[in-house]
Structure formats: C-alpha cells, structure tokens
C-alpha cells in the first residue's frame, strides 16, 4: 500500500528546494564578479539576472513552505532528485542569456552536463565565450562534484543531522568519511580546495611554460583543474586538451583525473599516512586490473591498425583516453571524429567498457564503480567455491575496503542491482540513438558517456542533434549522477501523489 504524501511532506520538500535555489543564487555572484573584474558587462548582467531569479525562487519557496523539520528518507530523496533538476534549470538561465546556445534546451543540457560532471557540450563558438560564462561552466562541475545539496548544506542549511545524511546518500555518496555528515562535507571541501590551489598552480605554471600569458594560463588552469579533479570534462577551448599541444599539461590533467577517481575515504587515509590502503583496497585493485586489461585491448587494436608512428605516441594517446574514460572525465587529446574514423571497433568497445565501469564510489566519477565490480566478482568466486566444497562447509569470503569486510549477500545484491540499472540505461540510450539513425556502436558510446557522466563524444552530441535525444541524455546524466535510487523514489512519490491512499 502506498500512502499519499501529506501537505507537510510537500512543505518540507519545497522549503529545502528553496534553500538550494538561494544557495545557487549566492554562488552565481562569483561569475558576476568575474564579469565585472574583466569588464564583461553582458555576462555580468546575465549572472545578476540569474542570481535574482534564483533568490526569488528561493524566497518564494521558503516563504510558502515555512516550517523546517528534519527530512525523512523519502523527502530527502525527492529533494535531491528535484533539487538537481531545478539547479540545472536555474544554472541554464545565464548560459541561455549568453547567446551561445541554440535554445534553452541546449543550455539546460549544458547545465545538467556540468552539474552531473559529464562534460558533453552543445555550446556554439566556445572560443569566443566570455571568461565569466566559461568560469560558470567549470564552477558547475566543481559544485556538482561535491554534490549540489551538500554544497547547500555546507553553505547555510542544516547542522548535519539525520536529514543531512539522507540527502548525502541521495546524492550517490555511499560512505561517510567522518562520523558527521557536515564534517564529511567539510573534509571533502578541504580536500578539494587544497587540490584546487595546488592543481591551479601546477596548470598555471605549465601554461606559462607552454607559451600562454599569465592571466590566461591561470584562468585556464583553474577551469581545467575543476573539470579534471571533479571528473567533469569541460575545457575553456573548443579543441579540448588538444588546444595546448602540451605533454606537460596532459600529464598534469592525467594525474588530476586519477586523483578525482579515488574514493574520498582513500584520500582521508592517504592524508593520514596510511599508504598501504592504496594497494590493499579492493576498489584500487579492481581499478588497476581493469585499466591494465582495457589498455592491453586498446593497444592491441591500435597496433593492429598501425595507427601511430611509435610506442610513445600510442601510449600518450591510448593511456590518456583510457584514464579519461575510466575516471569519467571526458578530456581528450583527439578530435571526436578521430575515434570513429581512426580507432578500431575493439578500441571503441574497450573505451565503452572503461566508461561504463567508472571509478571509485564516494568520488566524483560516474558509472558502475570499481567496488561494485569487485564485490560481484568476489560473490561469484564465493558461489563457485561453495559448490566445490562439502555441503556442510560454511564459507566466509572477506574483502578489504578501508577495513576487512565480510562479504554478505546484501552487498552482492545491491551491487548487482546497480550494474543492471546502469546496463539498462546504457543500452536504452543506444537504442534511442539508433532510432534516430546513428550506428549502434556510436550510439552506445555516446549513451554510455552520458549515463556514466564521462563526456567523451564520438560526434553525436552537437547542437543539430534531435531534441528528443538531448532530453534523453539529460535524463541519463541526471539518473547516472544520482545513481538511480533518488530518481526511483521520486517516481514512487509522484505515483503516490496521484494513486496513494489518504
């Protein structure tokens, strides 16, 4: 039996959505200030307008839905799923005002791609985009990487109670780093800001070394850091990483992508000097194995095609795409068309698998995640062993993830459900692409890239693509980032509104 939500449920949800809108309005003042600093009157006005709209929505919702109480599981999940949709809609306003998008739908696509740390883009004439708008595109990734609602919590919302934890889980963060959610959010911010300073410095200096002016080097540096560490994939230039023609910048972004793909809990352990965790952790082992196997597949295919003049080039191109795909970043040192025109089907399948698998849980990466793959594999091994042993034997399988954990059926079930859901979404998107006339492999590549929040493109994503496909990718990015649960709860909530019992 489903119970119809009470008016109080709607009030609580509305109140929290209002807070999220206000938080977004506050954050939008940063690009507005950048616009003023760099004498970009139009972009500055765009952000003032968008910020005003956010505050109006926020104030209206908090006024109408006054009366803060702690969130229930259902309310928390609905807040998260609706909050992300609303944030992408509000975030699209300044982008649409910039005039660089063919329609509001395209701007919404861009905003969702940014918040979901995907990196697929529909922008036109990126090379003439203002610094303020460019900064906003990357800032969306930075905010989305931490979790929009977690950002709102950190800014001014809740004191880290049970409701905060429900929102935190709803944003696809399965683990707390510290006992309190607020402390966890603060730790995630601390890690991100320390890396932000170091990463921007490294990329800025690299930019100067490679011939960029200091202002542009550091601007591009901060943007690239946000997109690399938060595994987003936007770049300030239309040629992506190819613009810089630099091994140094490619190496730094590669290191940042790897750091971004790691579990924040692992960062915490490493910060506390527990380096052994890096080698014992099941997640890290799975990541290492899948990277090695997929690179071998790509290398064999590229060597078979005799594509690159030497091994170093093969390594530079192959490893970069692989890390970008596996970490869910979407940076590329190839033109999108080169994937289809030059790389063989085997390499493309390898990249699709890497994108589909993703990085670590409790990181900014998307996709199935290495820990789930490891748990499923361990579960399979346990089942095979159990069959081979005498019936009276009780086998207890363990795995190491931050601590020794006994493998239980519920872990395997949860992992399997996630894998099946991701697989269904990847394939559904591919079928839709085929309906619009794209080849299967291209469609699967693009669909996986959207749902696993990667951002690599084989050329399907462009302003001229069908509107329905844009909507489908928006949904894929949204669902993939939130890992389905909160969206399924939203679906249940909507059904309950109409069909639930009083």
């Amino acid at each position: 039996m489903i119970l119809r939500p009470q008016i109080n449920d709607l009030r609580v949800i509305g109140f929290f959505l209002g807070k999220i809108a206000s938080a977004l309005g506050l954050i939008m003042l940063i690009p507005a200030v950048i616009g003023v600093l760099f004498s970009e009157a139009n972009p500055a006005a765009d952000y003032v307008i968008a910020s005003e709209i956010c505050f109006i929505v926020g104030l209206l919702l908090t006024l109408l839905c006054r009366g803060q109480t702690d969130l229930s599981w259902m309310q928390g999940m609905v807040v998260v799923s609706l909050g992300w949709l609303m944030a992408a809609l509000l975030g699209a306003v300044p982008l649409h005002l910039s005039g660089h998008f063919a329609s509001f739908l395209d701007a919404w696509f861009e905003a969702m791609s940014g918040f979901a740390t995907t990196g697929l883009t529909l922008i036109k004439d990126l090379d003439h985009l203002s610094l303020a708008h460019n900064f906003w595109r990357h800032l969306m990734i930075f905010i989305g990487g931490q979790g929009i609602v977690v950002v709102a919590i950190s800014l001014f919302m809740i004191k880290g109670g049970a409701g905060a934890f429900r929102i935190y889980v709803g944003e696809a963060r399965d683990e707390r780093v510290l006992p309190n959610v607020l402390s966890t959010a603060r730790f995630i911010w601390l890690v991100s800001i320390v890396y932000l300073l170091l990463g921007t410095l490294a990329l800025g200096v690299a930019g100067i070394v490679e011939g960029l002016g200091a202002k542009r080097a550091f601007f591009d540096g901060v943007c690239m850091f946000m997109a690399a560490f938060d595994t987003g994939g936007f770049t300030p230039r239309s040629q992506n990483i190819l613009y810089y023609h630099s091994l140094l910048i490619e190496s730094i972004t590669m290191a940042l992508m790897i750091l971004g793909a790691l579990n924040f809990n692992l960062h915490y352990h490493l910060w506390n000097g527990k380096r052994k965790e890096l080698f014992h952790n099941l997640e890290m082992r799975v990541l290492g194995i899948t990277m090695f196997v997929i690179f071998a597949i790509i290398a064999i295919d590229i060597m078979r095609l005799n594509l690159y003049p030497d091994a170093l080039t093969l390594f530079r191109k192959g490893v970069y795409q692989l890390i970008s795909a596996h970490s869910g970043t979407g940076y590329s040192n190839l033109y999108p068309r080169q994937f289809i025109a030059e790389w063989g089907n085997l390499s493309l399948v390898g990249l699709i698998v890497a994108m589909g698998l993703g990085g670590s849980i409790c990181s900014t990466t998307g996709g199935i995640k290495a820990l789930r793959v490891g748990i499923m594999f361990k579960g399979l091994v346990q089942d095979v062993k159990q069959i081979m042993l005498p019936e009276s034997t009780v086998l207890q399988q363990k795995f190491h993830h931050l601590k020794e954990v006994v493998l239980e059926d519920k872990y395997v079930r949860v992992a399997l459900v996630a894998v099946v859901l991701y697989f269904c979404v990847y394939v559904a998107g591919a079928f839709l692409g085929m309906v619009f006339g794209y080849p299967f492999l291209d469609s699967l590549f693009e669909s996986t890239s959207a749902a696993a929040n990667v951002g690599l493109s084989c050329g399907i994503t462009r302003p001229a693509m069908p509107a329905l496909l844009k909507v489908a990718y928006i949904i894929e990015m949204w669902a993939g980032r939130l890992e389905f649960v909160s969206i399924l709860v939203l679906g249940g909530f909507l059904i309950a509104v109409f069909r639930g019992k009083k």
């Binding site: 307008i49 006024l63 003439h128 203002s130 230039r237 023609h245 170093l312 190839l334 068309r337």
Partner: protein
C-alpha cells in the same frame, strides 16, 4: 603530392578563337600543363592547332569537374572537419586552410602554435616555424574577432614531432584580414530585467524579514 591543387579552367585566349585549358596546376609547379585549342563554329580549319573536336573538350571539361568534385584537388581552403574526417587521405600532403586565430599564439623553442578556427566552427593547431611567424594584431576571444590567416602547409594525421597530434605544419602563412574589437552593448531588455527582478526580490526580501520577525515574536 596531390593534396591541395590549384586549378584554373579556361578563360585565356590562344590564337584566333582558341580556348586554352590549364588544369591541375600544382602548387609545386611540377604539375601537368596542357594547352588545348578548339575550333569555334564557323571558323575554317586554317590553323594547325584547331584539331580537337568539341566533344573531346566537353569530355575533358567533365573530367576536370569530376576531379574537382572528387575531393582530390581544391581551389578553396579545406574545412577542418573534412581534414579530420579524411586525415588518412591528406596525411603528409599539402593542404590549404584558412580561419581566425583564437587564443594567443603559443611560442615554443623552435616555432609557435597558432590555433585557427575555420568558418564552420572547428579549430586546428598550426605549427609555424619561427622564421615565417607573422605579426599578430588580434587574437580571437570574447569581444575580439581575431586576425584571419591563410595557411599552406603539410597535414600530419599523427605528427611524429608533436606527440601524435593532428596538425598542419605551415609552409607559408598570410594574414588575409586584420581582426577587430567588437564594442559591447548591454541590451535594454537585460537592463530592464535586472531592475524589475531586483524590485521583486526587494519586496520578497522585506516580506520574508517581516514574516520571520513575526514568527519569532509568536
């Protein structure tokens, strides 16, 4: 070396009523050049060069048309997407490319990188050696239309010198148009929108403060 070929068709008279057809004259000057003359209607066959029938000329002209449309030779700069899509065919060949300079040129040890955006919105990296580096007045960006350059050079599908990047090594680079700074005008609708929304926000803020104060008092 076929790559980009400059083709001139017809136009220059040769002798009395003659038609001269020059085709596929290659940039390196090694291309074939033939002069074919035809006898126009009503002109008697007095000159020894009036020996080829009109149908042969039509046949020749259609062959040239076929060559032009086959993409093997170009009388115009090639778009970036075409170069990327068919990079294998153009690899190591002479190409002509044209577009706007975006971002600053990036000087390196023995040359400089120019990123040139073509008219269809795709940019390519152009490697320009120090000795032919042109002067740059404007680099494209927000509010700035960058200088326009015409490049003749060699395309590398996977450049051995530059880590396997797809690039063009310029043999010559010419500025065809100087860029300009576009004045920025804040549209009136944005100005009005800011004011109206600001007013609505102000009213809501006051209501919110009053409501919160009343709630506290209650």
């Amino acid at each position: 070396m076929i790559g980009r070929q400059k083709t001139e068709v017809g136009g220059r008279g040769s002798g009395v009523g003659g038609i001269t057809v020059c085709f596929a004259r290659r940039d390196d000057g090694r291309g074939d050049k033939k002069t074919i003359t035809a006898r126009p209607r009503g002109v008697a066959a007095q000159h020894p060069s009036f020996t080829i029938s009109l149908s042969s000329i039509l046949c020749l002209l259609s062959s040239i048309f076929c060559l032009l449309s086959s993409g093997l030779c170009y009388s115009q700069p090639v778009p970036a997407q075409e170069l990327i899509k068919n990079a294998g065919q153009y690899d190591g060949k002479a190409v002509e490319y044209e577009g706007e300079l975006i971002g600053e040129p990036m000087p390196r040890q023995d040359g400089v990188w120019f990123n040139i955006l073509d008219d269809e919105g795709t940019a390519l990296g152009i490697w320009v050696k120090g000795d032919i580096r042109p002067a740059v007045d404007y680099s494209g960006g927000y509010k700035v239309k960058g200088d326009r350059f015409n490049i003749r050079g060699e395309l590398h599908q996977h450049c051995r010198q530059h880590g396997g990047d797809l690039d063009i090594h310029a043999l010559s680079i010419t500025k065809t148009k100087t860029g300009a700074i576009a004045p920025e005008i804040l549209p009136r609708y944005k100005q009005r929108l800011m004011v109206y929304l600001g007013a609505i926000l102000g009213v809501l803020w006051i209501i919110s403060i009053i409501s919160r104060t009343r709630q506290r008092q209650a």
